[in-house]
């Protein structure tokens, strides 16, 4: 599998009268890992929902390999583009193997039978996500980290070359966050799966993504490598937060240290945020 290119052209979308995204243009790196970051209610999830066909844009289009996804039959699209929504729920009592098997849905018509290829795809998805040992366990009985790995396994069984994830690390402790993100990097490296994920944690985004898209009020404020995007100017504009950027000694990527009104070493931040002169020191 090679990655597919995903891009948005002049995208305007929202709910009812409320416009969330304003004529957005963006390109997702083919075969790369892209993180979408931004403040609450800036349109991150709306963007992901529009890019995965859950939401029909008011104007503009989303192109998968140059073809509009809103003009692609849903099942054909679901064979190429997968989505893991934010905190999905499994029916009570469903087992892990059963749930992961549902990922094969788009590969079946009304009457087609389950084949050996389906078993192979499910088995592989469960092996790479480390959920094989859980096959007969019920989803409800799993820990948060295990559950998230099962949902990723289901998305993998779908065998798409683009995978969109809406905050895949929410509600996970830090060890499980790292585990899930490491797993996504493995998949990206092994299969060339194009990965697009909404992340809240800027430092994790900088660490795991090849490219970062920073959204502010429904506009694309910045796009590029973590080094390009994660600057104190961007953070101030996107989050209204004063910060200092240093180089993460572990990964060599940029790392954001927020300033607080209570920092003893930064007394000037006591003033209202907007008027704070930021001391950007990009190492």
């Amino acid at each position: 599998m090679t990655g597919s290119s995903l891009s948005a052209r002049n995208l305007t979308a929202g709910y009812g009268d409320r416009t969330v995204l304003q004529s957005l243009d963006l390109d997702v790196a083919k075969g790369g890992i892209t993180a979408i970051v931004g403040a609450n209610a800036c349109g991150k999830s709306t963007l992901l929902r529009t890019m995965s066909r859950l939401l029909v844009p008011a104007t503009g289009q989303v192109l998968l390999n140059g073809k509009s996804i809103h003009h692609t039959p849903p099942r054909a699209l679901a064979q190429r583009l997968g989505l893991l929504p934010q905190s999905p729920t499994a029916p009570d009592g469903m087992t892990v193997a059963d749930l992961v098997s549902r990922g094969r849905h788009p590969h079946h018509g009304m009457l087609s039978r389950w084949t050996a290829a389906d078993d192979a795809a499910v088995a592989r998805a469960m092996t790479v996500t480390g959920t094989a040992d859980l096959a007969e366990r019920e989803i409800d009985a799993l820990s948060g980290g295990q559950r998230q790995r099962v949902w990723i396994a289901m998305a993998l069984a779908q065998q798409t070359d683009v995978l969109l994830l809406d905050e895949p690390t929410t509600f996970l402790d830090i060890a499980h966050q790292i585990e899930v993100l490491d797993l996504l990097v493995d998949l990206n490296r092994a299969d060339g799966t194009t990965i697009v994920m909404v992340l809240h944690d800027l430092n994790l985004a900088a660490r795991y993504a090849d490219r970062i898209l920073a959204l502010a009020q429904g506009h694309l404020h910045a796009a590029g490598t973590p080094e390009d995007v994660l600057t104190s100017d961007t953070v101030r504009h996107v989050f209204g937060l004063a910060c200092q950027i240093i180089t993460d000694p572990v990964s060599g990527k940029p790392m954001m240290l927020p300033r607080s009104r209570h920092d003893r070493t930064a007394p000037r931040v006591m003033k209202p945020l907007r008027s704070v002169p930021t001391k950007a020191s990009p190492t």
Partner: protein
């Protein structure tokens, strides 16, 4: 015995396919067992009533032979009653389970959220006010059921559909429509208590074989609308977003499923009245039999038929008095509804 966990996906494939085959076999066994139970129950109700007719006599009547006495009790009394009970039960069970699955809530069955009440009210209005009968009543019941479905949908819609809001609005609409039925029944000139009871609780008293044909036609038409979509209905249980991400056409599937549900429930209601709680109970009972997380449509249809057939038989012969089937199923469904409400109170959400 401790099975060592599979290390590679090559080890896992045979394990998965073995478990899947076992699940499929178990599912077939359950469906076969329920079908056998239904057939046995059907034969029993043909044989044993206030008098007992031997099996060979029942078979002779069924083959069209004229047997003095037996032709009347079996052919005219028991057979239409049994046929109607089975067909209505299949319709209520299938429609109810599809509705609960579509709305992902055991409380969201057609008899709770007002679809049955809408069909019943339309049928009673048609019979009493317009003096209609036969197929026209079925069509009117479908129109009434569909109208009710659209009404609760429109009232519950606010930037999307919330199951809890839809259920509460449906319960209110059902109460209003039931009072319409009661009012119209009071205006009816000279109806027997039996006739009125059919429209209040549901009954297969006085069934005629001619009523079975519209019911069978509706079961085949609307039932197949649901069954061809069973895979998509199953995917909907993962939530709208996840189902859409799996390639389910949400709007089209939902419309087709709602038409299927309303068609089944309305035609059955037009024939035998709103038999209490059958569509509410069949899905959960079937889910309990097939195990959690497994598809329930076909087992639920069979459970529905067993409930109506068994309930009617119990109401006729096993209880101290004669009761219409709806009273018996109502007595079964009430406690389960209370259980759901208690659980809802404890968890703080609607089921």
């Amino acid at each position: 015995m401790i099975v060592s966990p599979p290390r590679t996906h090559a080890d896992l494939i045979p394990q998965l396919s073995h478990q899947r085959r076992r699940r499929e076999r178990r599912r077939l066994q359950i469906v076969a067992a329920l079908a056998a139970l239904l057939i046995a129950g059907g034969v029993l109700t043909l044989m044993v009533g206030q008098s007992t007719t031997p099996l060979h006599v029942v078979l002779r009547v069924l083959s069209g032979e004229d047997v003095p006495g037996a032709s009347f009790t079996v052919g005219t009394l028991r057979l239409p009653r049994m046929t109607l009970a089975v067909l209505a039960g299949l319709s209520f069970g299938l429609g109810g389970a599809a509705c609960q699955t579509l709305l992902r809530n055991p409380l969201a069955s057609p008899d709770i959220i007002g679809i049955t009440a809408g069909s019943g009210a339309a049928a009673v209005l048609g019979i009493v006010m317009l003096q209609w009968s036969g197929a026209a009543i079925s069509v009117l019941a479908i129109v009434g059921g569909l109208g009710t479905a659209l009404l609760i949908h429109a009232l519950a819609w606010r930037d999307g559909l919330s199951g809890a809001r839809l259920i509460l609005i449906g319960i209110g609409i059902a109460a209003m429509l039931n009072s319409v039925t009661a009012y119209v029944l009071l205006q009816a000139p000279a109806w027997s208590l039996q006739e009125a009871l059919r429209w209040l609780t549901g009954s297969v008293n006085g069934a005629r074989l001619g009523q079975a044909l519209p019911l069978l036609t509706a079961l085949l038409t609307f039932g197949s609308l649901l069954l061809v979509r069973s895979r998509d209905i199953d995917a909907l249980r993962l939530g709208d977003d996840k189902a859409a991400a799996l390639g389910v056409r949400l709007g089209a599937v939902r419309l087709q499923v709602i038409i299927g549900i309303v068609g089944l429930i309305s035609t059955a209601t037009a024939a035998v009245g709103p038999i209490a709680f059958v569509s509410f109970l069949a899905g959960p009972i079937a889910a309990w039999i097939v195990g959690p997380g497994r598809p329930v449509l076909v087992p639920a249809a069979l459970v529905g038929a067993v409930l109506v057939l068994g309930g009617d038989y119990a109401g006729q012969f096993l209880l101290p008095n004669r009761y219409p089937v709806g009273v018996v199923t109502g007595a079964l469904g009430g406690p389960y509804l209370l259980y759901l409400i208690v659980r809802m109170n404890r968890t703080g959400r609607v089921a």
